[in-house]
């Protein structure tokens, strides 16, 4: 843009203001260059992605992750629904609006609706949350000014009652109220955030340890046991003792998380974690493990159970009184209170407390599910307390904690904190804690198996699956006294006993005697056969291979013969 030199007058002629023009030209060039550079920078180098903006309009916040079971079956998911709202300032004729709205959406109350729409100061009122697609279309067609829809997400539980206690539920605003749903919002917020994908718009599902098939089998068998023995409540847990995963947890009566109003009764709470119960003789297993681990006795030990044990002015006697000197395995299979109390006294008060502390029975067991209860232990520890706590009196724990400890005793003496979320073996190994010696665990496995082959739990012997277990018949405390007519029966077992993988607890609250049980209402007649049926159903699902010994084959042949005779 510079002026070409003109030679006509014998030399370059400087035009007036040429320098100024140059200056302006340079200034403009710099400015344009700057714009061009910035343009190139923004468009070519950085390349603003359009994707983020368009998606953000549709999903303003991180979506709630789905919940799936250990096999990926959907248990909880979000689906889009429309919610009806109104802007009272824009409504011209309230009466007409009320009339047409109540005609299209039958469950709207005319009076309440009128009151809502009569507030000219408000700019926003909800008329109905989560309307069905048909209703939405119908209201759209009414074309009332000032009435509109907001797209919301609604939590649905396609599995219904299955695993409801584990999963919990959310309120209308998708905030977790109970179970894993609450965990996702509160303590598990970091876990929830980790599920979100990089884009921030989708989240991979939260995978829980539950197996819906096992869960259903457990619930189904417990429900039929409740019906058969006219129990008021029942519960059960299947625990993978090698990893601490809770494969199934049932507490009856249960609830349907899809129910519109979430006003559940107290009985519908999860009694397996939020309640504490005296599990009775099941606790004896812990006393036995303690005695073995301290080395005060072994499988060849003997205790005199001829006379009731008198401490101070209290006397401890046996339910299945044998009135003889019992060997340690006999004490276990006959569930002798006297023998067990004597074993605990041999260990001593201090040792007893130390052992209970070691297995965690002094502390509240917390899992992902927020509902958890602290164990109820005697406040002052005396000789009598040690003797009675040895067989489970005055000693109430969460059933989940009970099965977790006993699972640890059977799992080579290694206890892993129970979890409702899926866990892999490497993670479990980090959390594993040794509570007793492997030799102690071996002895316990022998006793559990023995108790099923020839003890009080014989009705749980599902031939082929090598079940082991301990029964408990506890009298419930009513008005400060033990009531012999109100029982809480339990069975804690594990299978396959040669290398235990799964532990199971079955609890029946106040089961009644039936003609079939010959008038007995103790655990051996109701909780144990129920557990047997459950194991028979779930063992194939869990991939436990049946193994038959010569004895088993003979037993099976005998059973088949008697079945033929009957049939």
């Amino acid at each position: 843009m510079t002026q070409a030199p003109d030679d006509r007058f014998g030399g370059p002629v400087k035009l007036a203001g040429q320098n100024r023009i140059r200056l302006v030209a340079i200034g403009f060039s710099i400015a344009f260059l700057a714009i061009a550079l910035q343009l190139a920078n923004l468009t070519i180098l950085k390349g603003v992605s359009v994707e983020d903006d368009t998606l953000a309009e549709h999903q303003p916040r991180l979506p709630r992750p789905d919940i799936v079971d250990r096999n990926g079956v959907v248990i909880a998911t979000d689906i889009a629904v429309a919610s009806l709202y109104a802007d009272p300032r824009k409504i011209i004729d309230v009466e007409e609006a009320v009339e047409s709205l109540t005609a299209t959406v039958p469950d709207l109350d005319a009076k309440a609706l009128r009151a809502k729409l009569m507030q000219p100061g408000r700019a926003f009122v909800w008329l109905k949350r989560q309307v069905s697609p048909e209703e939405r279309d119908a209201v759209y067609n009414l074309g009332i000014p000032g009435v509109g829809f907001v797209n919301e997400r609604r939590r649905v539980y396609p599995m219904g009652r299955i695993a409801a206690h584990t999963v919990g539920y959310v309120d209308l605003d998708s905030k977790g109220i109970a179970g894993i749903e609450k965990y996702l919002d509160d303590r598990g917020a970091i876990y929830t955030a980790s599920l979100g994908e990089d884009s921030g718009h989708t989240a991979s599902p939260a995978q829980i340890a539950t197996d819906t098939r096992v869960q259903h089998a457990l619930a189904d068998e417990l429900a039929s046991a409740v019906a058969k023995f006219k129990a008021i409540a029942a519960g059960g847990i299947v625990l993978d003792i090698t990893t601490g995963e809770i494969i199934a947890l049932v507490s009856l009566p249960d609830f349907n998380p899809n129910q519109e109003d979430k006003k559940f009764r107290k009985e519908q709470a999860n009694m397996m974690t939020s309640g504490v119960f005296e599990l009775g003789s099941v606790i004896k297993a812990i006393t036995f493990a303690m005695a073995f681990d301290y080395g005060v006795t072994n499988l060849n030990g003997k205790y005199d159970a001829r006379f009731p044990l008198v401490i101070g002015n209290a006397s401890i006697s046996d339910y299945h009184a044998q009135r003889r000197v019992l060997t340690v395995p006999e004490i276990f299979t006959n569930s002798s209170n006297i023998g067990t109390a004597k074993m605990a006294l041999d260990v001593g008060i201090e040792g007893h407390q130390e052992f209970l502390r070691r297995v965690g029975l002094f502390d509240r067991l917390t899992t992902e599910v927020p509902e958890s209860a602290k164990p109820l232990l005697p406040k002052r520890w005396s000789k009598l307390v040690t003797a009675t706590a040895a067989f489970g009196h005055g000693f109430a724990v969460q059933p989940l904690q009970g099965i977790s400890v006993i699972g640890g005793l059977l799992n080579n003496g290694v206890m892993t904190a129970p979890t409702f979320l899926k866990r892999d073996v490497a993670e479990a190994d980090v959390l594993a804690k040794r509570i007793v010696k492997p030799e102690t665990s071996e002895k316990m496995r022998y006793l559990f198996r023995l108790n099923v082959t020839e003890g009080t739990a014989s009705k749980a012997d599902v031939i082929g699956y090598r079940v082991g277990g301990k029964t408990g018949t506890a009298e419930k405390v009513v008005g400060g006294r033990y009531n012999p007519d109100k029982l809480l029966n339990s069975f804690i077992g594990a299978f396959p006993m040669d290398n235990p993988r799964y532990a199971i607890i079955v609890m029946l609250d106040e089961p009644k005697a039936t003609p079939e049980t010959y008038g007995f209402a103790t655990a051996g007649w109701n909780a144990v056969p129920t557990a047997g049926k459950i194991i028979e159903r779930i063992a194939p699902l869990l991939g436990v291979r049946p193994i038959f010994t010569e004895e088993d084959i003979a037993k099976l042949a005998k059973l088949a013969k008697s079945a033929k005779k009957d049939g």
């Binding site: 999903q59 079956v73 396609p158 009652r161 299955i162 031939i463 082929g464």
Partner: protein, 116 residues
């Protein structure tokens, strides 16, 4: 010289304006396309979710159990019904099964009958 330069510049302005306009036009088209695809993806995702929920609801174990009890004559599997591979191998005939089936024999059925 000046005129030529100016003419060139004007032409350049016109050409670049045209290029810019057509670029913007096609960009808008692409943006619309992207937005539509995003919407479609969201819709598809939504319907995947709904279908997943429906599948889950239809394959509920309690529902399947009820249907099976009503319509099938199946019983709960017992431990004694499991057979190991080696046990099964002993009973398989020497001749290939497919050949026998061609001759109209129900080989598998025979094995099962024998085992019962």
């Amino acid at each position: 010289m000046h005129k030529f330069l100016n003419a060139c510049l004007v032409l350049a302005v016109l050409v670049s304006a045209f290029v810019l306009y057509s670029l913007e036009h096609s960009t808008r088209g692409l943006e619309r396309n992207i937005a539509r695809l995003q919407r479609d993806i969201l819709e598809e995702r939504e319907s995947i979710k709904v279908l997943g929920a429906e599948w889950s609801s239809l394959s509920r174990p309690d529902r399947l159990q009820k249907l099976a009890q009503e319509n099938l004559k199946l019983k709960t599997i017992t431990a004694s019904q499991f057979v190991s591979e080696s046990e099964l191998a002993e009973k398989v005939p020497a001749e290939p099964v497919i050949m026998l089936e061609k001759k109209g024999k129900d080989v598998i059925g025979d094995i099962l009958k024998e085992m019962q």
